[in-house]
Every structure is written in C-alpha cells, then in structure tokens.
C-alpha cells in the first residue's frame, strides 16, 4: 500500500490528499492491533540527548510519518526554519522577527538582524541581570530600612508570568545555597486577590517587586504594581522616589514607559520587540528563574534549549523531535479529527506546564486566518488543557477512558528521580511511573489491556481504548532538560503554524476585549450605568450591578 508522494516534485495538495487516503484506511485499525506489530517501539521512538519521544501509541505507522514529513517538506518547512533562525520577519502582521532562539545563543556567536549583531546585546542584558542576581543572592540588595531583600514578587501576566512560574516550580530542586533565603512569588490576577493575600504576610522593608511587562502598559500588571507601591508608601516615611528605587525592578521592552512610571534606568532590565511574550522566559523576563536557580542554572537551561535549537535546525526532518511531535499533532487534528489535547506530566514539579503550554499553543496557533489574509482551509490548534497526571486520574480521566470525545494526550515523565533520597520517596516516583505507563497502555488498548479478564465485563465496565498518546521520557528533570523540553514545544508550535500557513507570533484576538473593557470601565467609573447604550445583555448587567451597589449599606 505504498501510496506515498514521490520524493521530488511534491505539492502541498498532493501530500494532503495522500495523507487523507492513508488516513481513511488506517482509521479502521484499532491501536491495540497496531501495537501488536513487532518492532513498533523501535521504529516509532526517537531520541535526542536525554530525551526520548515515544510515538508508538499514536494511531499511525512508520510510513505515516514518511508522508507527514513529505507534507512538511512540501510546505517548505526547512525554508521556514532557516527564516526563523536567521531573524527574518516571520511575524508578518507585525513586520518583525521572532528571535527567541537568539536569546539562547552562546556568547561569542553572531546573528545579524537588520545589519546589527544581536548576540552582544542579549549577553549584555544577561550580564546586567547577573549583577542583580548576585546582589540579591549576597543579601546586598537593600530595602528602605537597609535590611536585605528576602522576598521577591514577580508582577506580570501571560508570558511575563506563566513561563517563569512554570520553570521556577519545575526547578525547585536546584536552588543553590545562596538563593535559599529568597522567597519568590508570582502575582498576576487583575483583581488583586493574589496580591492582597501576599502583602498581608510580607514585610514591606524586605520585599522587592519585579514589574514584568513587555509594553509596560499591561493594565493587569500596572494595577497590581500600583497597589504594591501604595502598600510601601503606607508602611514607611521614605520618599516615594527612594521607595521605588529600592523596591521595584522593571523588566520591559519599553524603557521610557517604565521610566515614566518611576523606575529609573538603573533598575531596568530590557528585552526587545522581537521577543514574543510567550517566548520570553529566556530573556530577562527569566529574572525570577535566575533568582531561583542561580545564573549558572539559568545558563544551563539556555544551553539545553540551544542544543535543541541546533537539533531542530540541522537534524533530518524524519529524525527531528519537534517536527515529529508537530506532524503527529497534524495527523491527529487534520486527519483523525481529534480536537482536544491533554498535557499530563507525571511529576508534581511540572504542575504549571499545562497552563504554560495552553498559552504557548493556543495563543500561537489559535487562529483561522492564513498569513495571506485568507481563511484557513484546515482546522488549527485544538483545545489544550492538562493537570498533573496522577491528580487528573481522579478528575477528568473518566472522560478520557469512557467519554465520547477523542483526546490526544502527552505524558511527560522522567526516568530518574530522588536518587539520593529516602526509599519512601523513591517509591513514590516508582508509583508515578507505574501509573503513567498504565494509563498510556489502557488509553491505547482499552479492554484488551486486561485480556480475557474483561470478557464478562458489564457495559459500564468497558474501555473503548484507541486514544492516542505520546510519551516524552526525560532522563531526569534538570535545568538543561527543562530548557530542551520547552524548546521542543516552542518549535512544535512553529512547525504546525507552517503547515497551517498561519502566523504563530501575533495575538490580535486579545485586543478587542481590552478596548471594550476600557469603555466599560469608563461607564463604571462615571456611574452612568442606567443610561449605558451597549447591547441588551450588557446594559442589563450594568443596571443590575448599579442596583446592588446602591442597596449595599456599606457603600459611601
């Protein structure tokens, strides 16, 4: 049944067609039958450094991957990868490059963008960041009383929050002695509820706020920062200028805006408009990560990502981990019609990975317009969600096993953990590994996993199986492997965007809501609720809010 496209003159359309025909045939086969084929694991698992990508529980054959690689080739994936790495304006709607890969280039390399080598700028900023990290680790960053800072609060949202928070949690085992005294918190929610709780238990004299905002106009972040500033003013007799100087750091691509807010140049760390928010944890946005694991740990994370960059750029597509992961997704979404994707780390340290990937994937590829402005002919990014696997087993796995929806799953787990810890903890990791393997097996095989023992099961005890999953097995979780894991997903997202012909680096879909919120805020501020002229639903709710506020006995 070799119906593959010829390797020379492939057209995108012919590849899509060939894959469609192939899919029609393959759809009839249950995963349990595919998994009974000898040598499948060997043919469908791929390795790079300490990472193993196991695609053997996907509903595909080795020749499916060949056809998918043909499609990637026909879509000029290699050309796009080069364009990405060389700093071409791959973000076409905003006419700029997307150079997160430049953020992890080693010192001494060069990358010319618009005639200028960006690598020295990147490393100069890392150096500045290292200076701040050193002061804080040596307990020499002093607050307004002269006491050393012992609490750092990252105020940011979206890419200025999810990436650093995810990495800090993931690398909690790698805190060097000099960082042990620093408590690091993340505050993002617009309504201030996280901040209020945190301020109650913190000491203003020893708390430093990192205000992270690419544009320095993000209202969520500036609202939290203003509350923090007020808290410091209330706590001390020191002049506001001095307070801001000692207790605020800005991480931004808009230095003037940060300066207008009151944060002097000396307390600013910069990055550039060519770093997308959700791709920014490698830049100075990663300051909380560097504070958590030290600059040496941070550099290891960058090195892990850089190593994967090189693999992505140079490995043949058929052995290229991000490409294979992406094309498997294309297969599931566009040929098997699966539009839900669960991220299931079997490691509590990766608790924030699902939220991070939700943004990375859905903000990047949650689009229906192609680069040329035409409507997308294909389904694009699926709905992505997730949870620490063992906990999700007690939550939504019921749906995975017996619901009506097809869901593709990513299991992420490391082989080694707790090597130098107590046997009870080693046992816990063993337990997590066993559960990870068990769930992937049952999802794929269904009833067949237990063989004849299931023969007399009642209908509600039946397992359909045939849910495809990928296992990403890491040797162990380290700064380096986390760097590689994140880069793997970044490049996966890019590959899919190339296949779909969309721009993954803009996010125009979030703008209208902001504009509308400004209009509504004006109405709420002015108290003109009853005469508002929005749609009926909005008018109705505004009136209801007004009525409830009027009847509140505590209102002024």
């Amino acid at each position: 049944m070799n119906m593959a496209c010829g390797s020379m003159q492939l057209t995108i359309e012919s590849c899509w067609q060939a894959l469609g025909v192939h899919a029609d045939a393959l759809k009839q086969q249950h995963l349990k039958d595919l998994l009974s084929q000898d040598g499948r694991f060997g043919e469908l698992s791929f390795r790079h450094e300490g990472m193993l990508l196991d695609l053997s529980r996907q509903r595909l054959l080795p020749q499916t991957l060949d056809k998918l690689v043909d499609l990637a080739q026909a879509s000029d994936l290699q050309g796009w990868i080069e364009a990405l790495f060389q700093g071409e304006a791959v973000n076409n709607t905003e006419q700029r490059p997307a150079l997160h890969t430049a953020l992890r280039l080693p010192a001494g390399s060069t990358l010319r963008v618009a005639g200028e080598d960006v690598v020295p700028k990147v490393h100069a900023n890392l150096e500045r960041m290292a200076g701040m990290v050193e002061l804080l680790h040596n307990r020499q960053w002093r607050g307004y009383t002269g006491e050393p800072i012992d609490t750092v609060v990252n105020v940011g949202v979206g890419g200025s929050d999810l990436g650093p928070m995810m990495a800090c949690r993931a690398l909690n085992d790698f805190v060097p002695d000099e960082a042990a005294h620093l408590k690091i918190h993340f505050v993002s929610s617009m309504d201030g509820s996280q901040l209020v709780d945190l301020l109650e238990q913190s000491n203003p004299a020893t708390t430093l706020f990192i205000v992270s905002s690419k544009s320095f106009t993000t209202i969520d972040t500036l609202a939290n920062a203003a509350t923090a500033r007020r808290w410091l003013q209330d706590a001390s007799d020191v002049r506001d200028e001095v307070l801001v100087n000692r207790h605020f750091v800005a991480v931004t691509a808009s230095p003037e805006k940060a300066l207008q807010w009151g944060i002097p140049e000396s307390n600013q760390l910069h990055f550039w408009d060519w770093t997308g928010g959700r791709y920014s944890l490698w830049s100075t946005i990663g300051l909380p990560i560097a504070l958590k694991i030290g600059m040496s740990g941070f550099h290891q994370m960058l090195a892990g990502a850089h190593d994967l960059d090189q693999h992505f750029r140079s490995a043949p597509l058929s052995e290229n981990l991000p490409v294979l992961l992406a094309m498997t997704g294309i297969w599931n979404i566009n040929f098997l019609d699966i539009h839900a994707h669960a991220i299931l780390p079997y490691d509590g340290r990766l608790a924030h990975l699902p939220a991070y990937l939700e943004q990375l994937e859905m903000e990047s590829n949650g689009k229906s317009v192609c680069r040329d402005g035409s409507a997308s002919a294909h389904r694009t990014c699926p709905v992505l969600w997730g949870e620490v696997g063992p906990n999700a087993q007690h939550a939504f796995y019921q749906l995975l096993h017996q619901g009506t929806e097809s869901v593709m799953c990513d299991f992420i787990v490391s082989a080694r953990r707790y090597a130098s810890e107590h046997e009870t903890l080693q046992r816990q990791h063993q337990l997590a590994l066993a559960n990870c393997l068990a769930q992937a097996r049952v999802l794929a095989l269904g009833d067949a996993a237990l063989g004849s023992a299931q023969d007399n099961a009642k209908p509600w005890q039946r397992y359909r199986g045939n849910q495809p999953s990928t296992v990403i097995l890491l040797d162990e979780l380290t700064p380096r492997s986390v760097g590689a894991l994140i880069a793997l997903y970044e490049h996966k997202v890019f590959v899919q965007s190339v296949i779909w012909g969309i721009n993954p680096f803009d996010q125009w879909g979030v703008e209208l809501g902001k504009t509308m919120a400004t209009q509504l805020l004006d109405v709420l501020d002015s108290g003109q609720h009853p005469v508002a002229s929005f749609d009926h639903a909005t008018n109705g709710l505004l009136a209801a809010i007004e009525a409830r506020r009027m009847s509140n006995p505590d209102a002024d």
Partner: protein, 423 residues
Amino acid sequence: MKIAVWGDELASWVAVAQLAAYGNDVRVPQAAAGTTEIRPSQSSVRAEPGLMELIQAGVIKGQLSALATDECEEVVVHWLAMAPDEEDKAIALVQRLAQRADGSLLVINQSNFGIGASDRLQALLNSDAGQAVICLPDTLQQGRALSQFAQPKTLLVGCEDATALQSLQAILRPFTGALQSLQLMTRREAEFTKFAITGMLALRLGYINELANLADLLAVDIDVVRQGMGSDERIGPHYLAPGCGFGGQHFTQYIEGLAGLFSEKRRSTLLDTVLAENQRQMELPFRKLWQHYECDLSGKTVALWGVAFKPGVASIDNAPALRIIDALLAQGARVRLHDPEALPEVREHYGNHASVCYCADKYEAAQAADALLLLTEWPEYWSPDFERLAQSLRAKVVVDGRNVYDPALLRAQGFTYYGIGRL
C-alpha cells in the same frame, strides 16, 4: 607527666602552652610528617596575647615537641580540644588508643562535639582497665585565655571515675590555687551545662538588643533602662550591654550547636531566633547610616573604628564589622579602617581592594569621611579629640555601635549622633 594534646584550636594551644610551662612533657602531632615546627594554623589563635611566646618558651625548655602520631599515641594522658566538625577524627583516634593500650588511659575532652559525645568516646574504651574519658568544658574567652586557664575560679568536670578524677586534679594542681568551686557531674551533664550557660548569655544579649531597638522607636534611652535592670539582684549587670551583635568563633559555635539541638529535638526556634536577630543586629550601624543618607551610599566614604569582634583581640572571626564592610562595599562606598590590633587579619581578608584603605592612625581613617562608625570599643576610642575628629570628617556623622559616647556631648559639638537605643 607525658601528655598528648590533640586539636588546632585556641583551647588546645592554650593547654599546650600552659601544661608545658609547668613541666609536663607535652607532645603534639606533627602538622605534616617530619615537620617539627609548632604553630597554630589559625591566625586568630596566634593573635592570642602571650600565647606564641609561651609556646616558644616551652619548645626552648624542651617541654614541648612535635612528634609522629604514633609517638603521641603511646602516652597515657590525652587532651582533646578539637574543632566541632572533627568528631570522626576524635573517634578514630580513641579507637586507635583503645587498640594499643591494655592498661589505663585518660582522655580529657574539651571539644564541642555536642551532648553525649564524651559518652560515645568512653564507649570505645575499656573502663574496667582504667580507661576513662573526662569532659572538661572549655570556658576560655579569646583575649584572656591564658590567664583563664591558669587561674580558673570554677571548674565544671564531667567525670564518672574516681581514679580518673584524681589524675585530672594532679594535672590541674598548678592552676587551681584560686579555684572556688569544682562542680562534679556526669559527662553528659557537663556538656549540657556548658551549652546551657552559653545559651543563657546569648539570650540575655539578644534580649537587651531587642529592648534597645524598641527603645529607639519609643524615645527611651536604653542605657538608663539597662542600669535599672542591672540593679535588680535577680538579674545583675552582666551581659546586658546592647550593641551591634556578638561575634567570636566559640561562642557562636556553641549557640549554633544548641540551637540545632532545640530545633531538632524540640522544634523550638528560641535560639534560632536569637542567632538570626544577632545577624541582623550586626548590620544595625549600616542601617542607621543607610537611612541617614536616604538609601544611597554610593560614592560615600565611611570610616570604621574597630574591626576586631571585641576589644583585646586581633581576631575578626564573625565580627560585625565584616558584615558592615561587605554591605558598604556592595553599595559602592569606600571604607577607611582603623583597629589597634586586627588590621593584619583584615588585610588578609580583603587584600588590596581598591575601596578599602587600611589606616594606622584613627584620625587618618576619619579623613574626609562622610561618617564614622565605631564598632569595637577599644579603650583608645572612648575619649578621642572630638575637635580633631570634627575637622577630619567631611560630614560630622557618628554611628556609635557600642554606646560608648554621651549623645548630648557629641550633639553639642555639632555631630549627628546615632547610638543603639540611645536618645
């Protein structure tokens, strides 16, 4: 008597010098095979007043020699004053002694290995053969260690064997003329008592410092309060002087040991808090200066009088001044240092740092400085020529970390004065 002394601590070297001075044949193990030089490796020990001279005298008289380990191990009396992290070494030593000796052995343990350590050493020996461990807690203070060894007023002795006690008394006879009490107890009790005394002193210092900081905020002069407290006979005047924290190696090591026990066995943070607050207290003069200059000390020049952790020693072990110098340098300030004895140690610590100036004269240190910090209450700082000081300084700001000056007097001469809990 032939006595082998083990350890490279102040207590071991004081024992070496004094035991040799009274005619004992004192042996110390060679620092390296074949080296006959007898010299403490820590400069703070070498700085102990009179110690090096007394060691030298012992060598000249032939009472003191550095021998191979084997030759040290062949004697009957062993004096152990080793570092707190050398318990494994002590255990290995006592195991070797037990293997080679059939008859009696006397091990006098002065090391701070924690409570129960002397019992652990005893368990390695054959008590039926007259092999005994005595716990003799070290009560030496740096700066006065020789005289304290020579004329103790009280001795705590943890000993559970009458013959061993007789031997110890024979060894200590030259030194017990002024002895008022010898408290005999079990080894474990002796170790615990030593810990308890040190902890009590730390608590008093921690408490008076807390009171001084509160007095600062309530416009009360702690000096008046302190005298009032000291007049109550239940309290007494000792260890009630507020200041910028306690330092010194041994004191801190004992308190850390006790704090560790409290935290491990009792989940008690009492002494952890004292230690943490002491660390903060050490930086108090820095914070006063920081606030005076509105949180910006970059480019400022600061004079420091006193770097040693207390007057009378050349040692800077855990001295508050080190933390303050580090803080000032980190803020981009320059420091000009004076200390009557500790400057060589300070120079060893900071080397030729562009922002550190070592001054032989205290007024030279004050030259063109934006403030003077007094951190060690050496006698020569108590009554300086204030007029000359005022002329030397660029800004007449004095932070008195030891409360030695009269605030009113300094203010009358135009100084801005900050003390610890002073009006």
